[in-house]
Symmetry: C2
């Protein structure tokens, strides 16, 4: 029973440690997600960081969910630990009579030993006297002693028989009680381990889904699409400005000319910006 | 290009952080496995701790294997970072002529603007004089000025045309070069992410296998088998000693009696030990 209480406390301690480790891991992952979101938001690769951020956050969440489940489980184990202590107290009272039986058989068996030794010595004494040809009076005295010793021994053998039956009966009952307690204990422990496994497995599945999602998102971002995104954010317009035609002009075409030149100037300046941007 | 270098450095930093987190997790799991192996080796539950120990060690090993793979990957990323820097240096030299074209078109377009404004003012001046009925001599003077301004403007329009063609050609070449560089960059980054995903997935599978093994081992340890193990380790023998028969004795049976009583004493003492053991 003592080991039963130790092992249930140890199990709850083990689960608590596992929860602590998972929590630390989850927190580090949240930090890592922040790192990803702090990464450069410029250049073709920038959009990828969102994917990293999301999947890392998902991973952190999965492990935090496991922490929550394990903490729930620890509460259950704690409840069991208390029940167990109560039951053991109760059982100790129930088996008190067994202890009596034990003490009884111990004392009876000692008395039996003594009476047996006395019986043996008296018998050997009587035989020795017979061999040495003692007087009838002395032989009768010895005979009387043997008779007494035999009766005492006989009575203790009977007392011992009763004590032994009592002892064996109590011992059997108690052993069965203890076996019952052990079976119940192992069953409860196995239930706890079962839900421990379940939580771990659920988390494992969620992590797998998160990972698949990550891969899918990465595959969905093609090189072309990234280049396209960059071009759109940095581009200076898609049309190439017309060449200003000077040769046949009038007041009207003159003002077109001014417009066109402005436009092409604008386009050039943007072009230059992109170029020097690339150089800087 | 600058952002390309930043992002590849950031990616290698991200992977390094992930590796650090995985390593910490793995070490904590190894500790937890030790805790499991330090748990009480007595009582029915004791054999379960081996299962916990093994599976926790397996988990630790899986994550350490991931660390190893990520460190390999970081080396690759580092190699790429260096290549990238070399390529960018080379490209900057190659596109130097584009900068010249840019500076050229900027100066030419400024001259074009000036000559155009001069041409417009001279034309308007001539028309104003005509309206105000200036002398023929003055009109000829103005006409000469307009002719000059027109020629200058015309020549700059031609210069600008050449400069513009040159500029557009260089810009196109350079843009294509940059696009090539960007495509190469994103491809390399995607390769890196691909092997990152692969390592993470492999680890995930291994962890899943470890978990399954754990569940299997737990299911294989039945309550009966655990009780059996305990009984065998703590038992005091399976036979119940005979009851000593006192009623018909002779010297011979007397010595049997002594033997039997010893045996039953031995059995009782063990019984008592077990019982008090259970109580302690």
């Amino acid at each position: 029973m003592k080991h039963g209480q130790i092992s249930s406390k140890e199990l709850s301690e083990f689960i608590r440690e596992r929860a602590t480790i998972e929590e630390a891991y989850s927190r580090s992952m949240t930090k890592l997600a922040k790192t990803a979101s702090n990464c450069s938001q410029l250049g073709t690769f920038a959009p990828m960081w969102d994917v990293f951020k999301q999947s890392t956050e998902k991973l952190a969440a999965c492990h935090m969910e496991l922490v929550r489940k394990l903490q729930e489980l620890i509460k259950e184990v704690q409840k069991y630990v208390e029940e167990q202590a109560k039951n053991h107290k109760k059982t100790k009272e129930e088996v008190a009579s067994t202890l009596e039986a034990v003490q009884n058989i111990q004392s009876v068996s000692q008395a039996l030993q003594k009476s047996k030794e006395n019986y043996i010595s008296k018998t050997l004494e009587q035989e020795r006297m017979r061999k040495e040809g003692a007087t009838q009076k002395d032989l009768d005295k010895a005979g009387l002693k043997v008779k007494k010793a035999t009766e005492t021994y006989k009575s203790y053998v009977e007392k011992y028989a009763t004590a032994k039956t009592e002892f064996e009966q109590r011992m059997t009952e108690t052993s069965q009680k203890f076996q019952g307690i052990e079976e119940e204990h192992v069953l409860r422990m196995q239930e706890i381990i079962h839900s421990y496994c379940q939580s771990v497995e659920e988390t494992h599945i969620q992590i797998g889904e998160g990972q698949e999602e990550f891969v899918k998102n990465m595959e969905n971002t093609s090189v072309e699409s990234l280049i396209q995104k960059l071009a759109e954010s940095k581009g200076t317009g898609k049309e190439r400005p017309e060449m200003s035609n000077i040769l046949h002009y009038n007041t009207r075409s003159m003002f077109d000319l001014i417009a066109v030149t402005r436009w092409s100037l604008h386009w050039r300046i943007c072009g230059v910006l992109t170029l020097t941007g690339a150089f800087s």
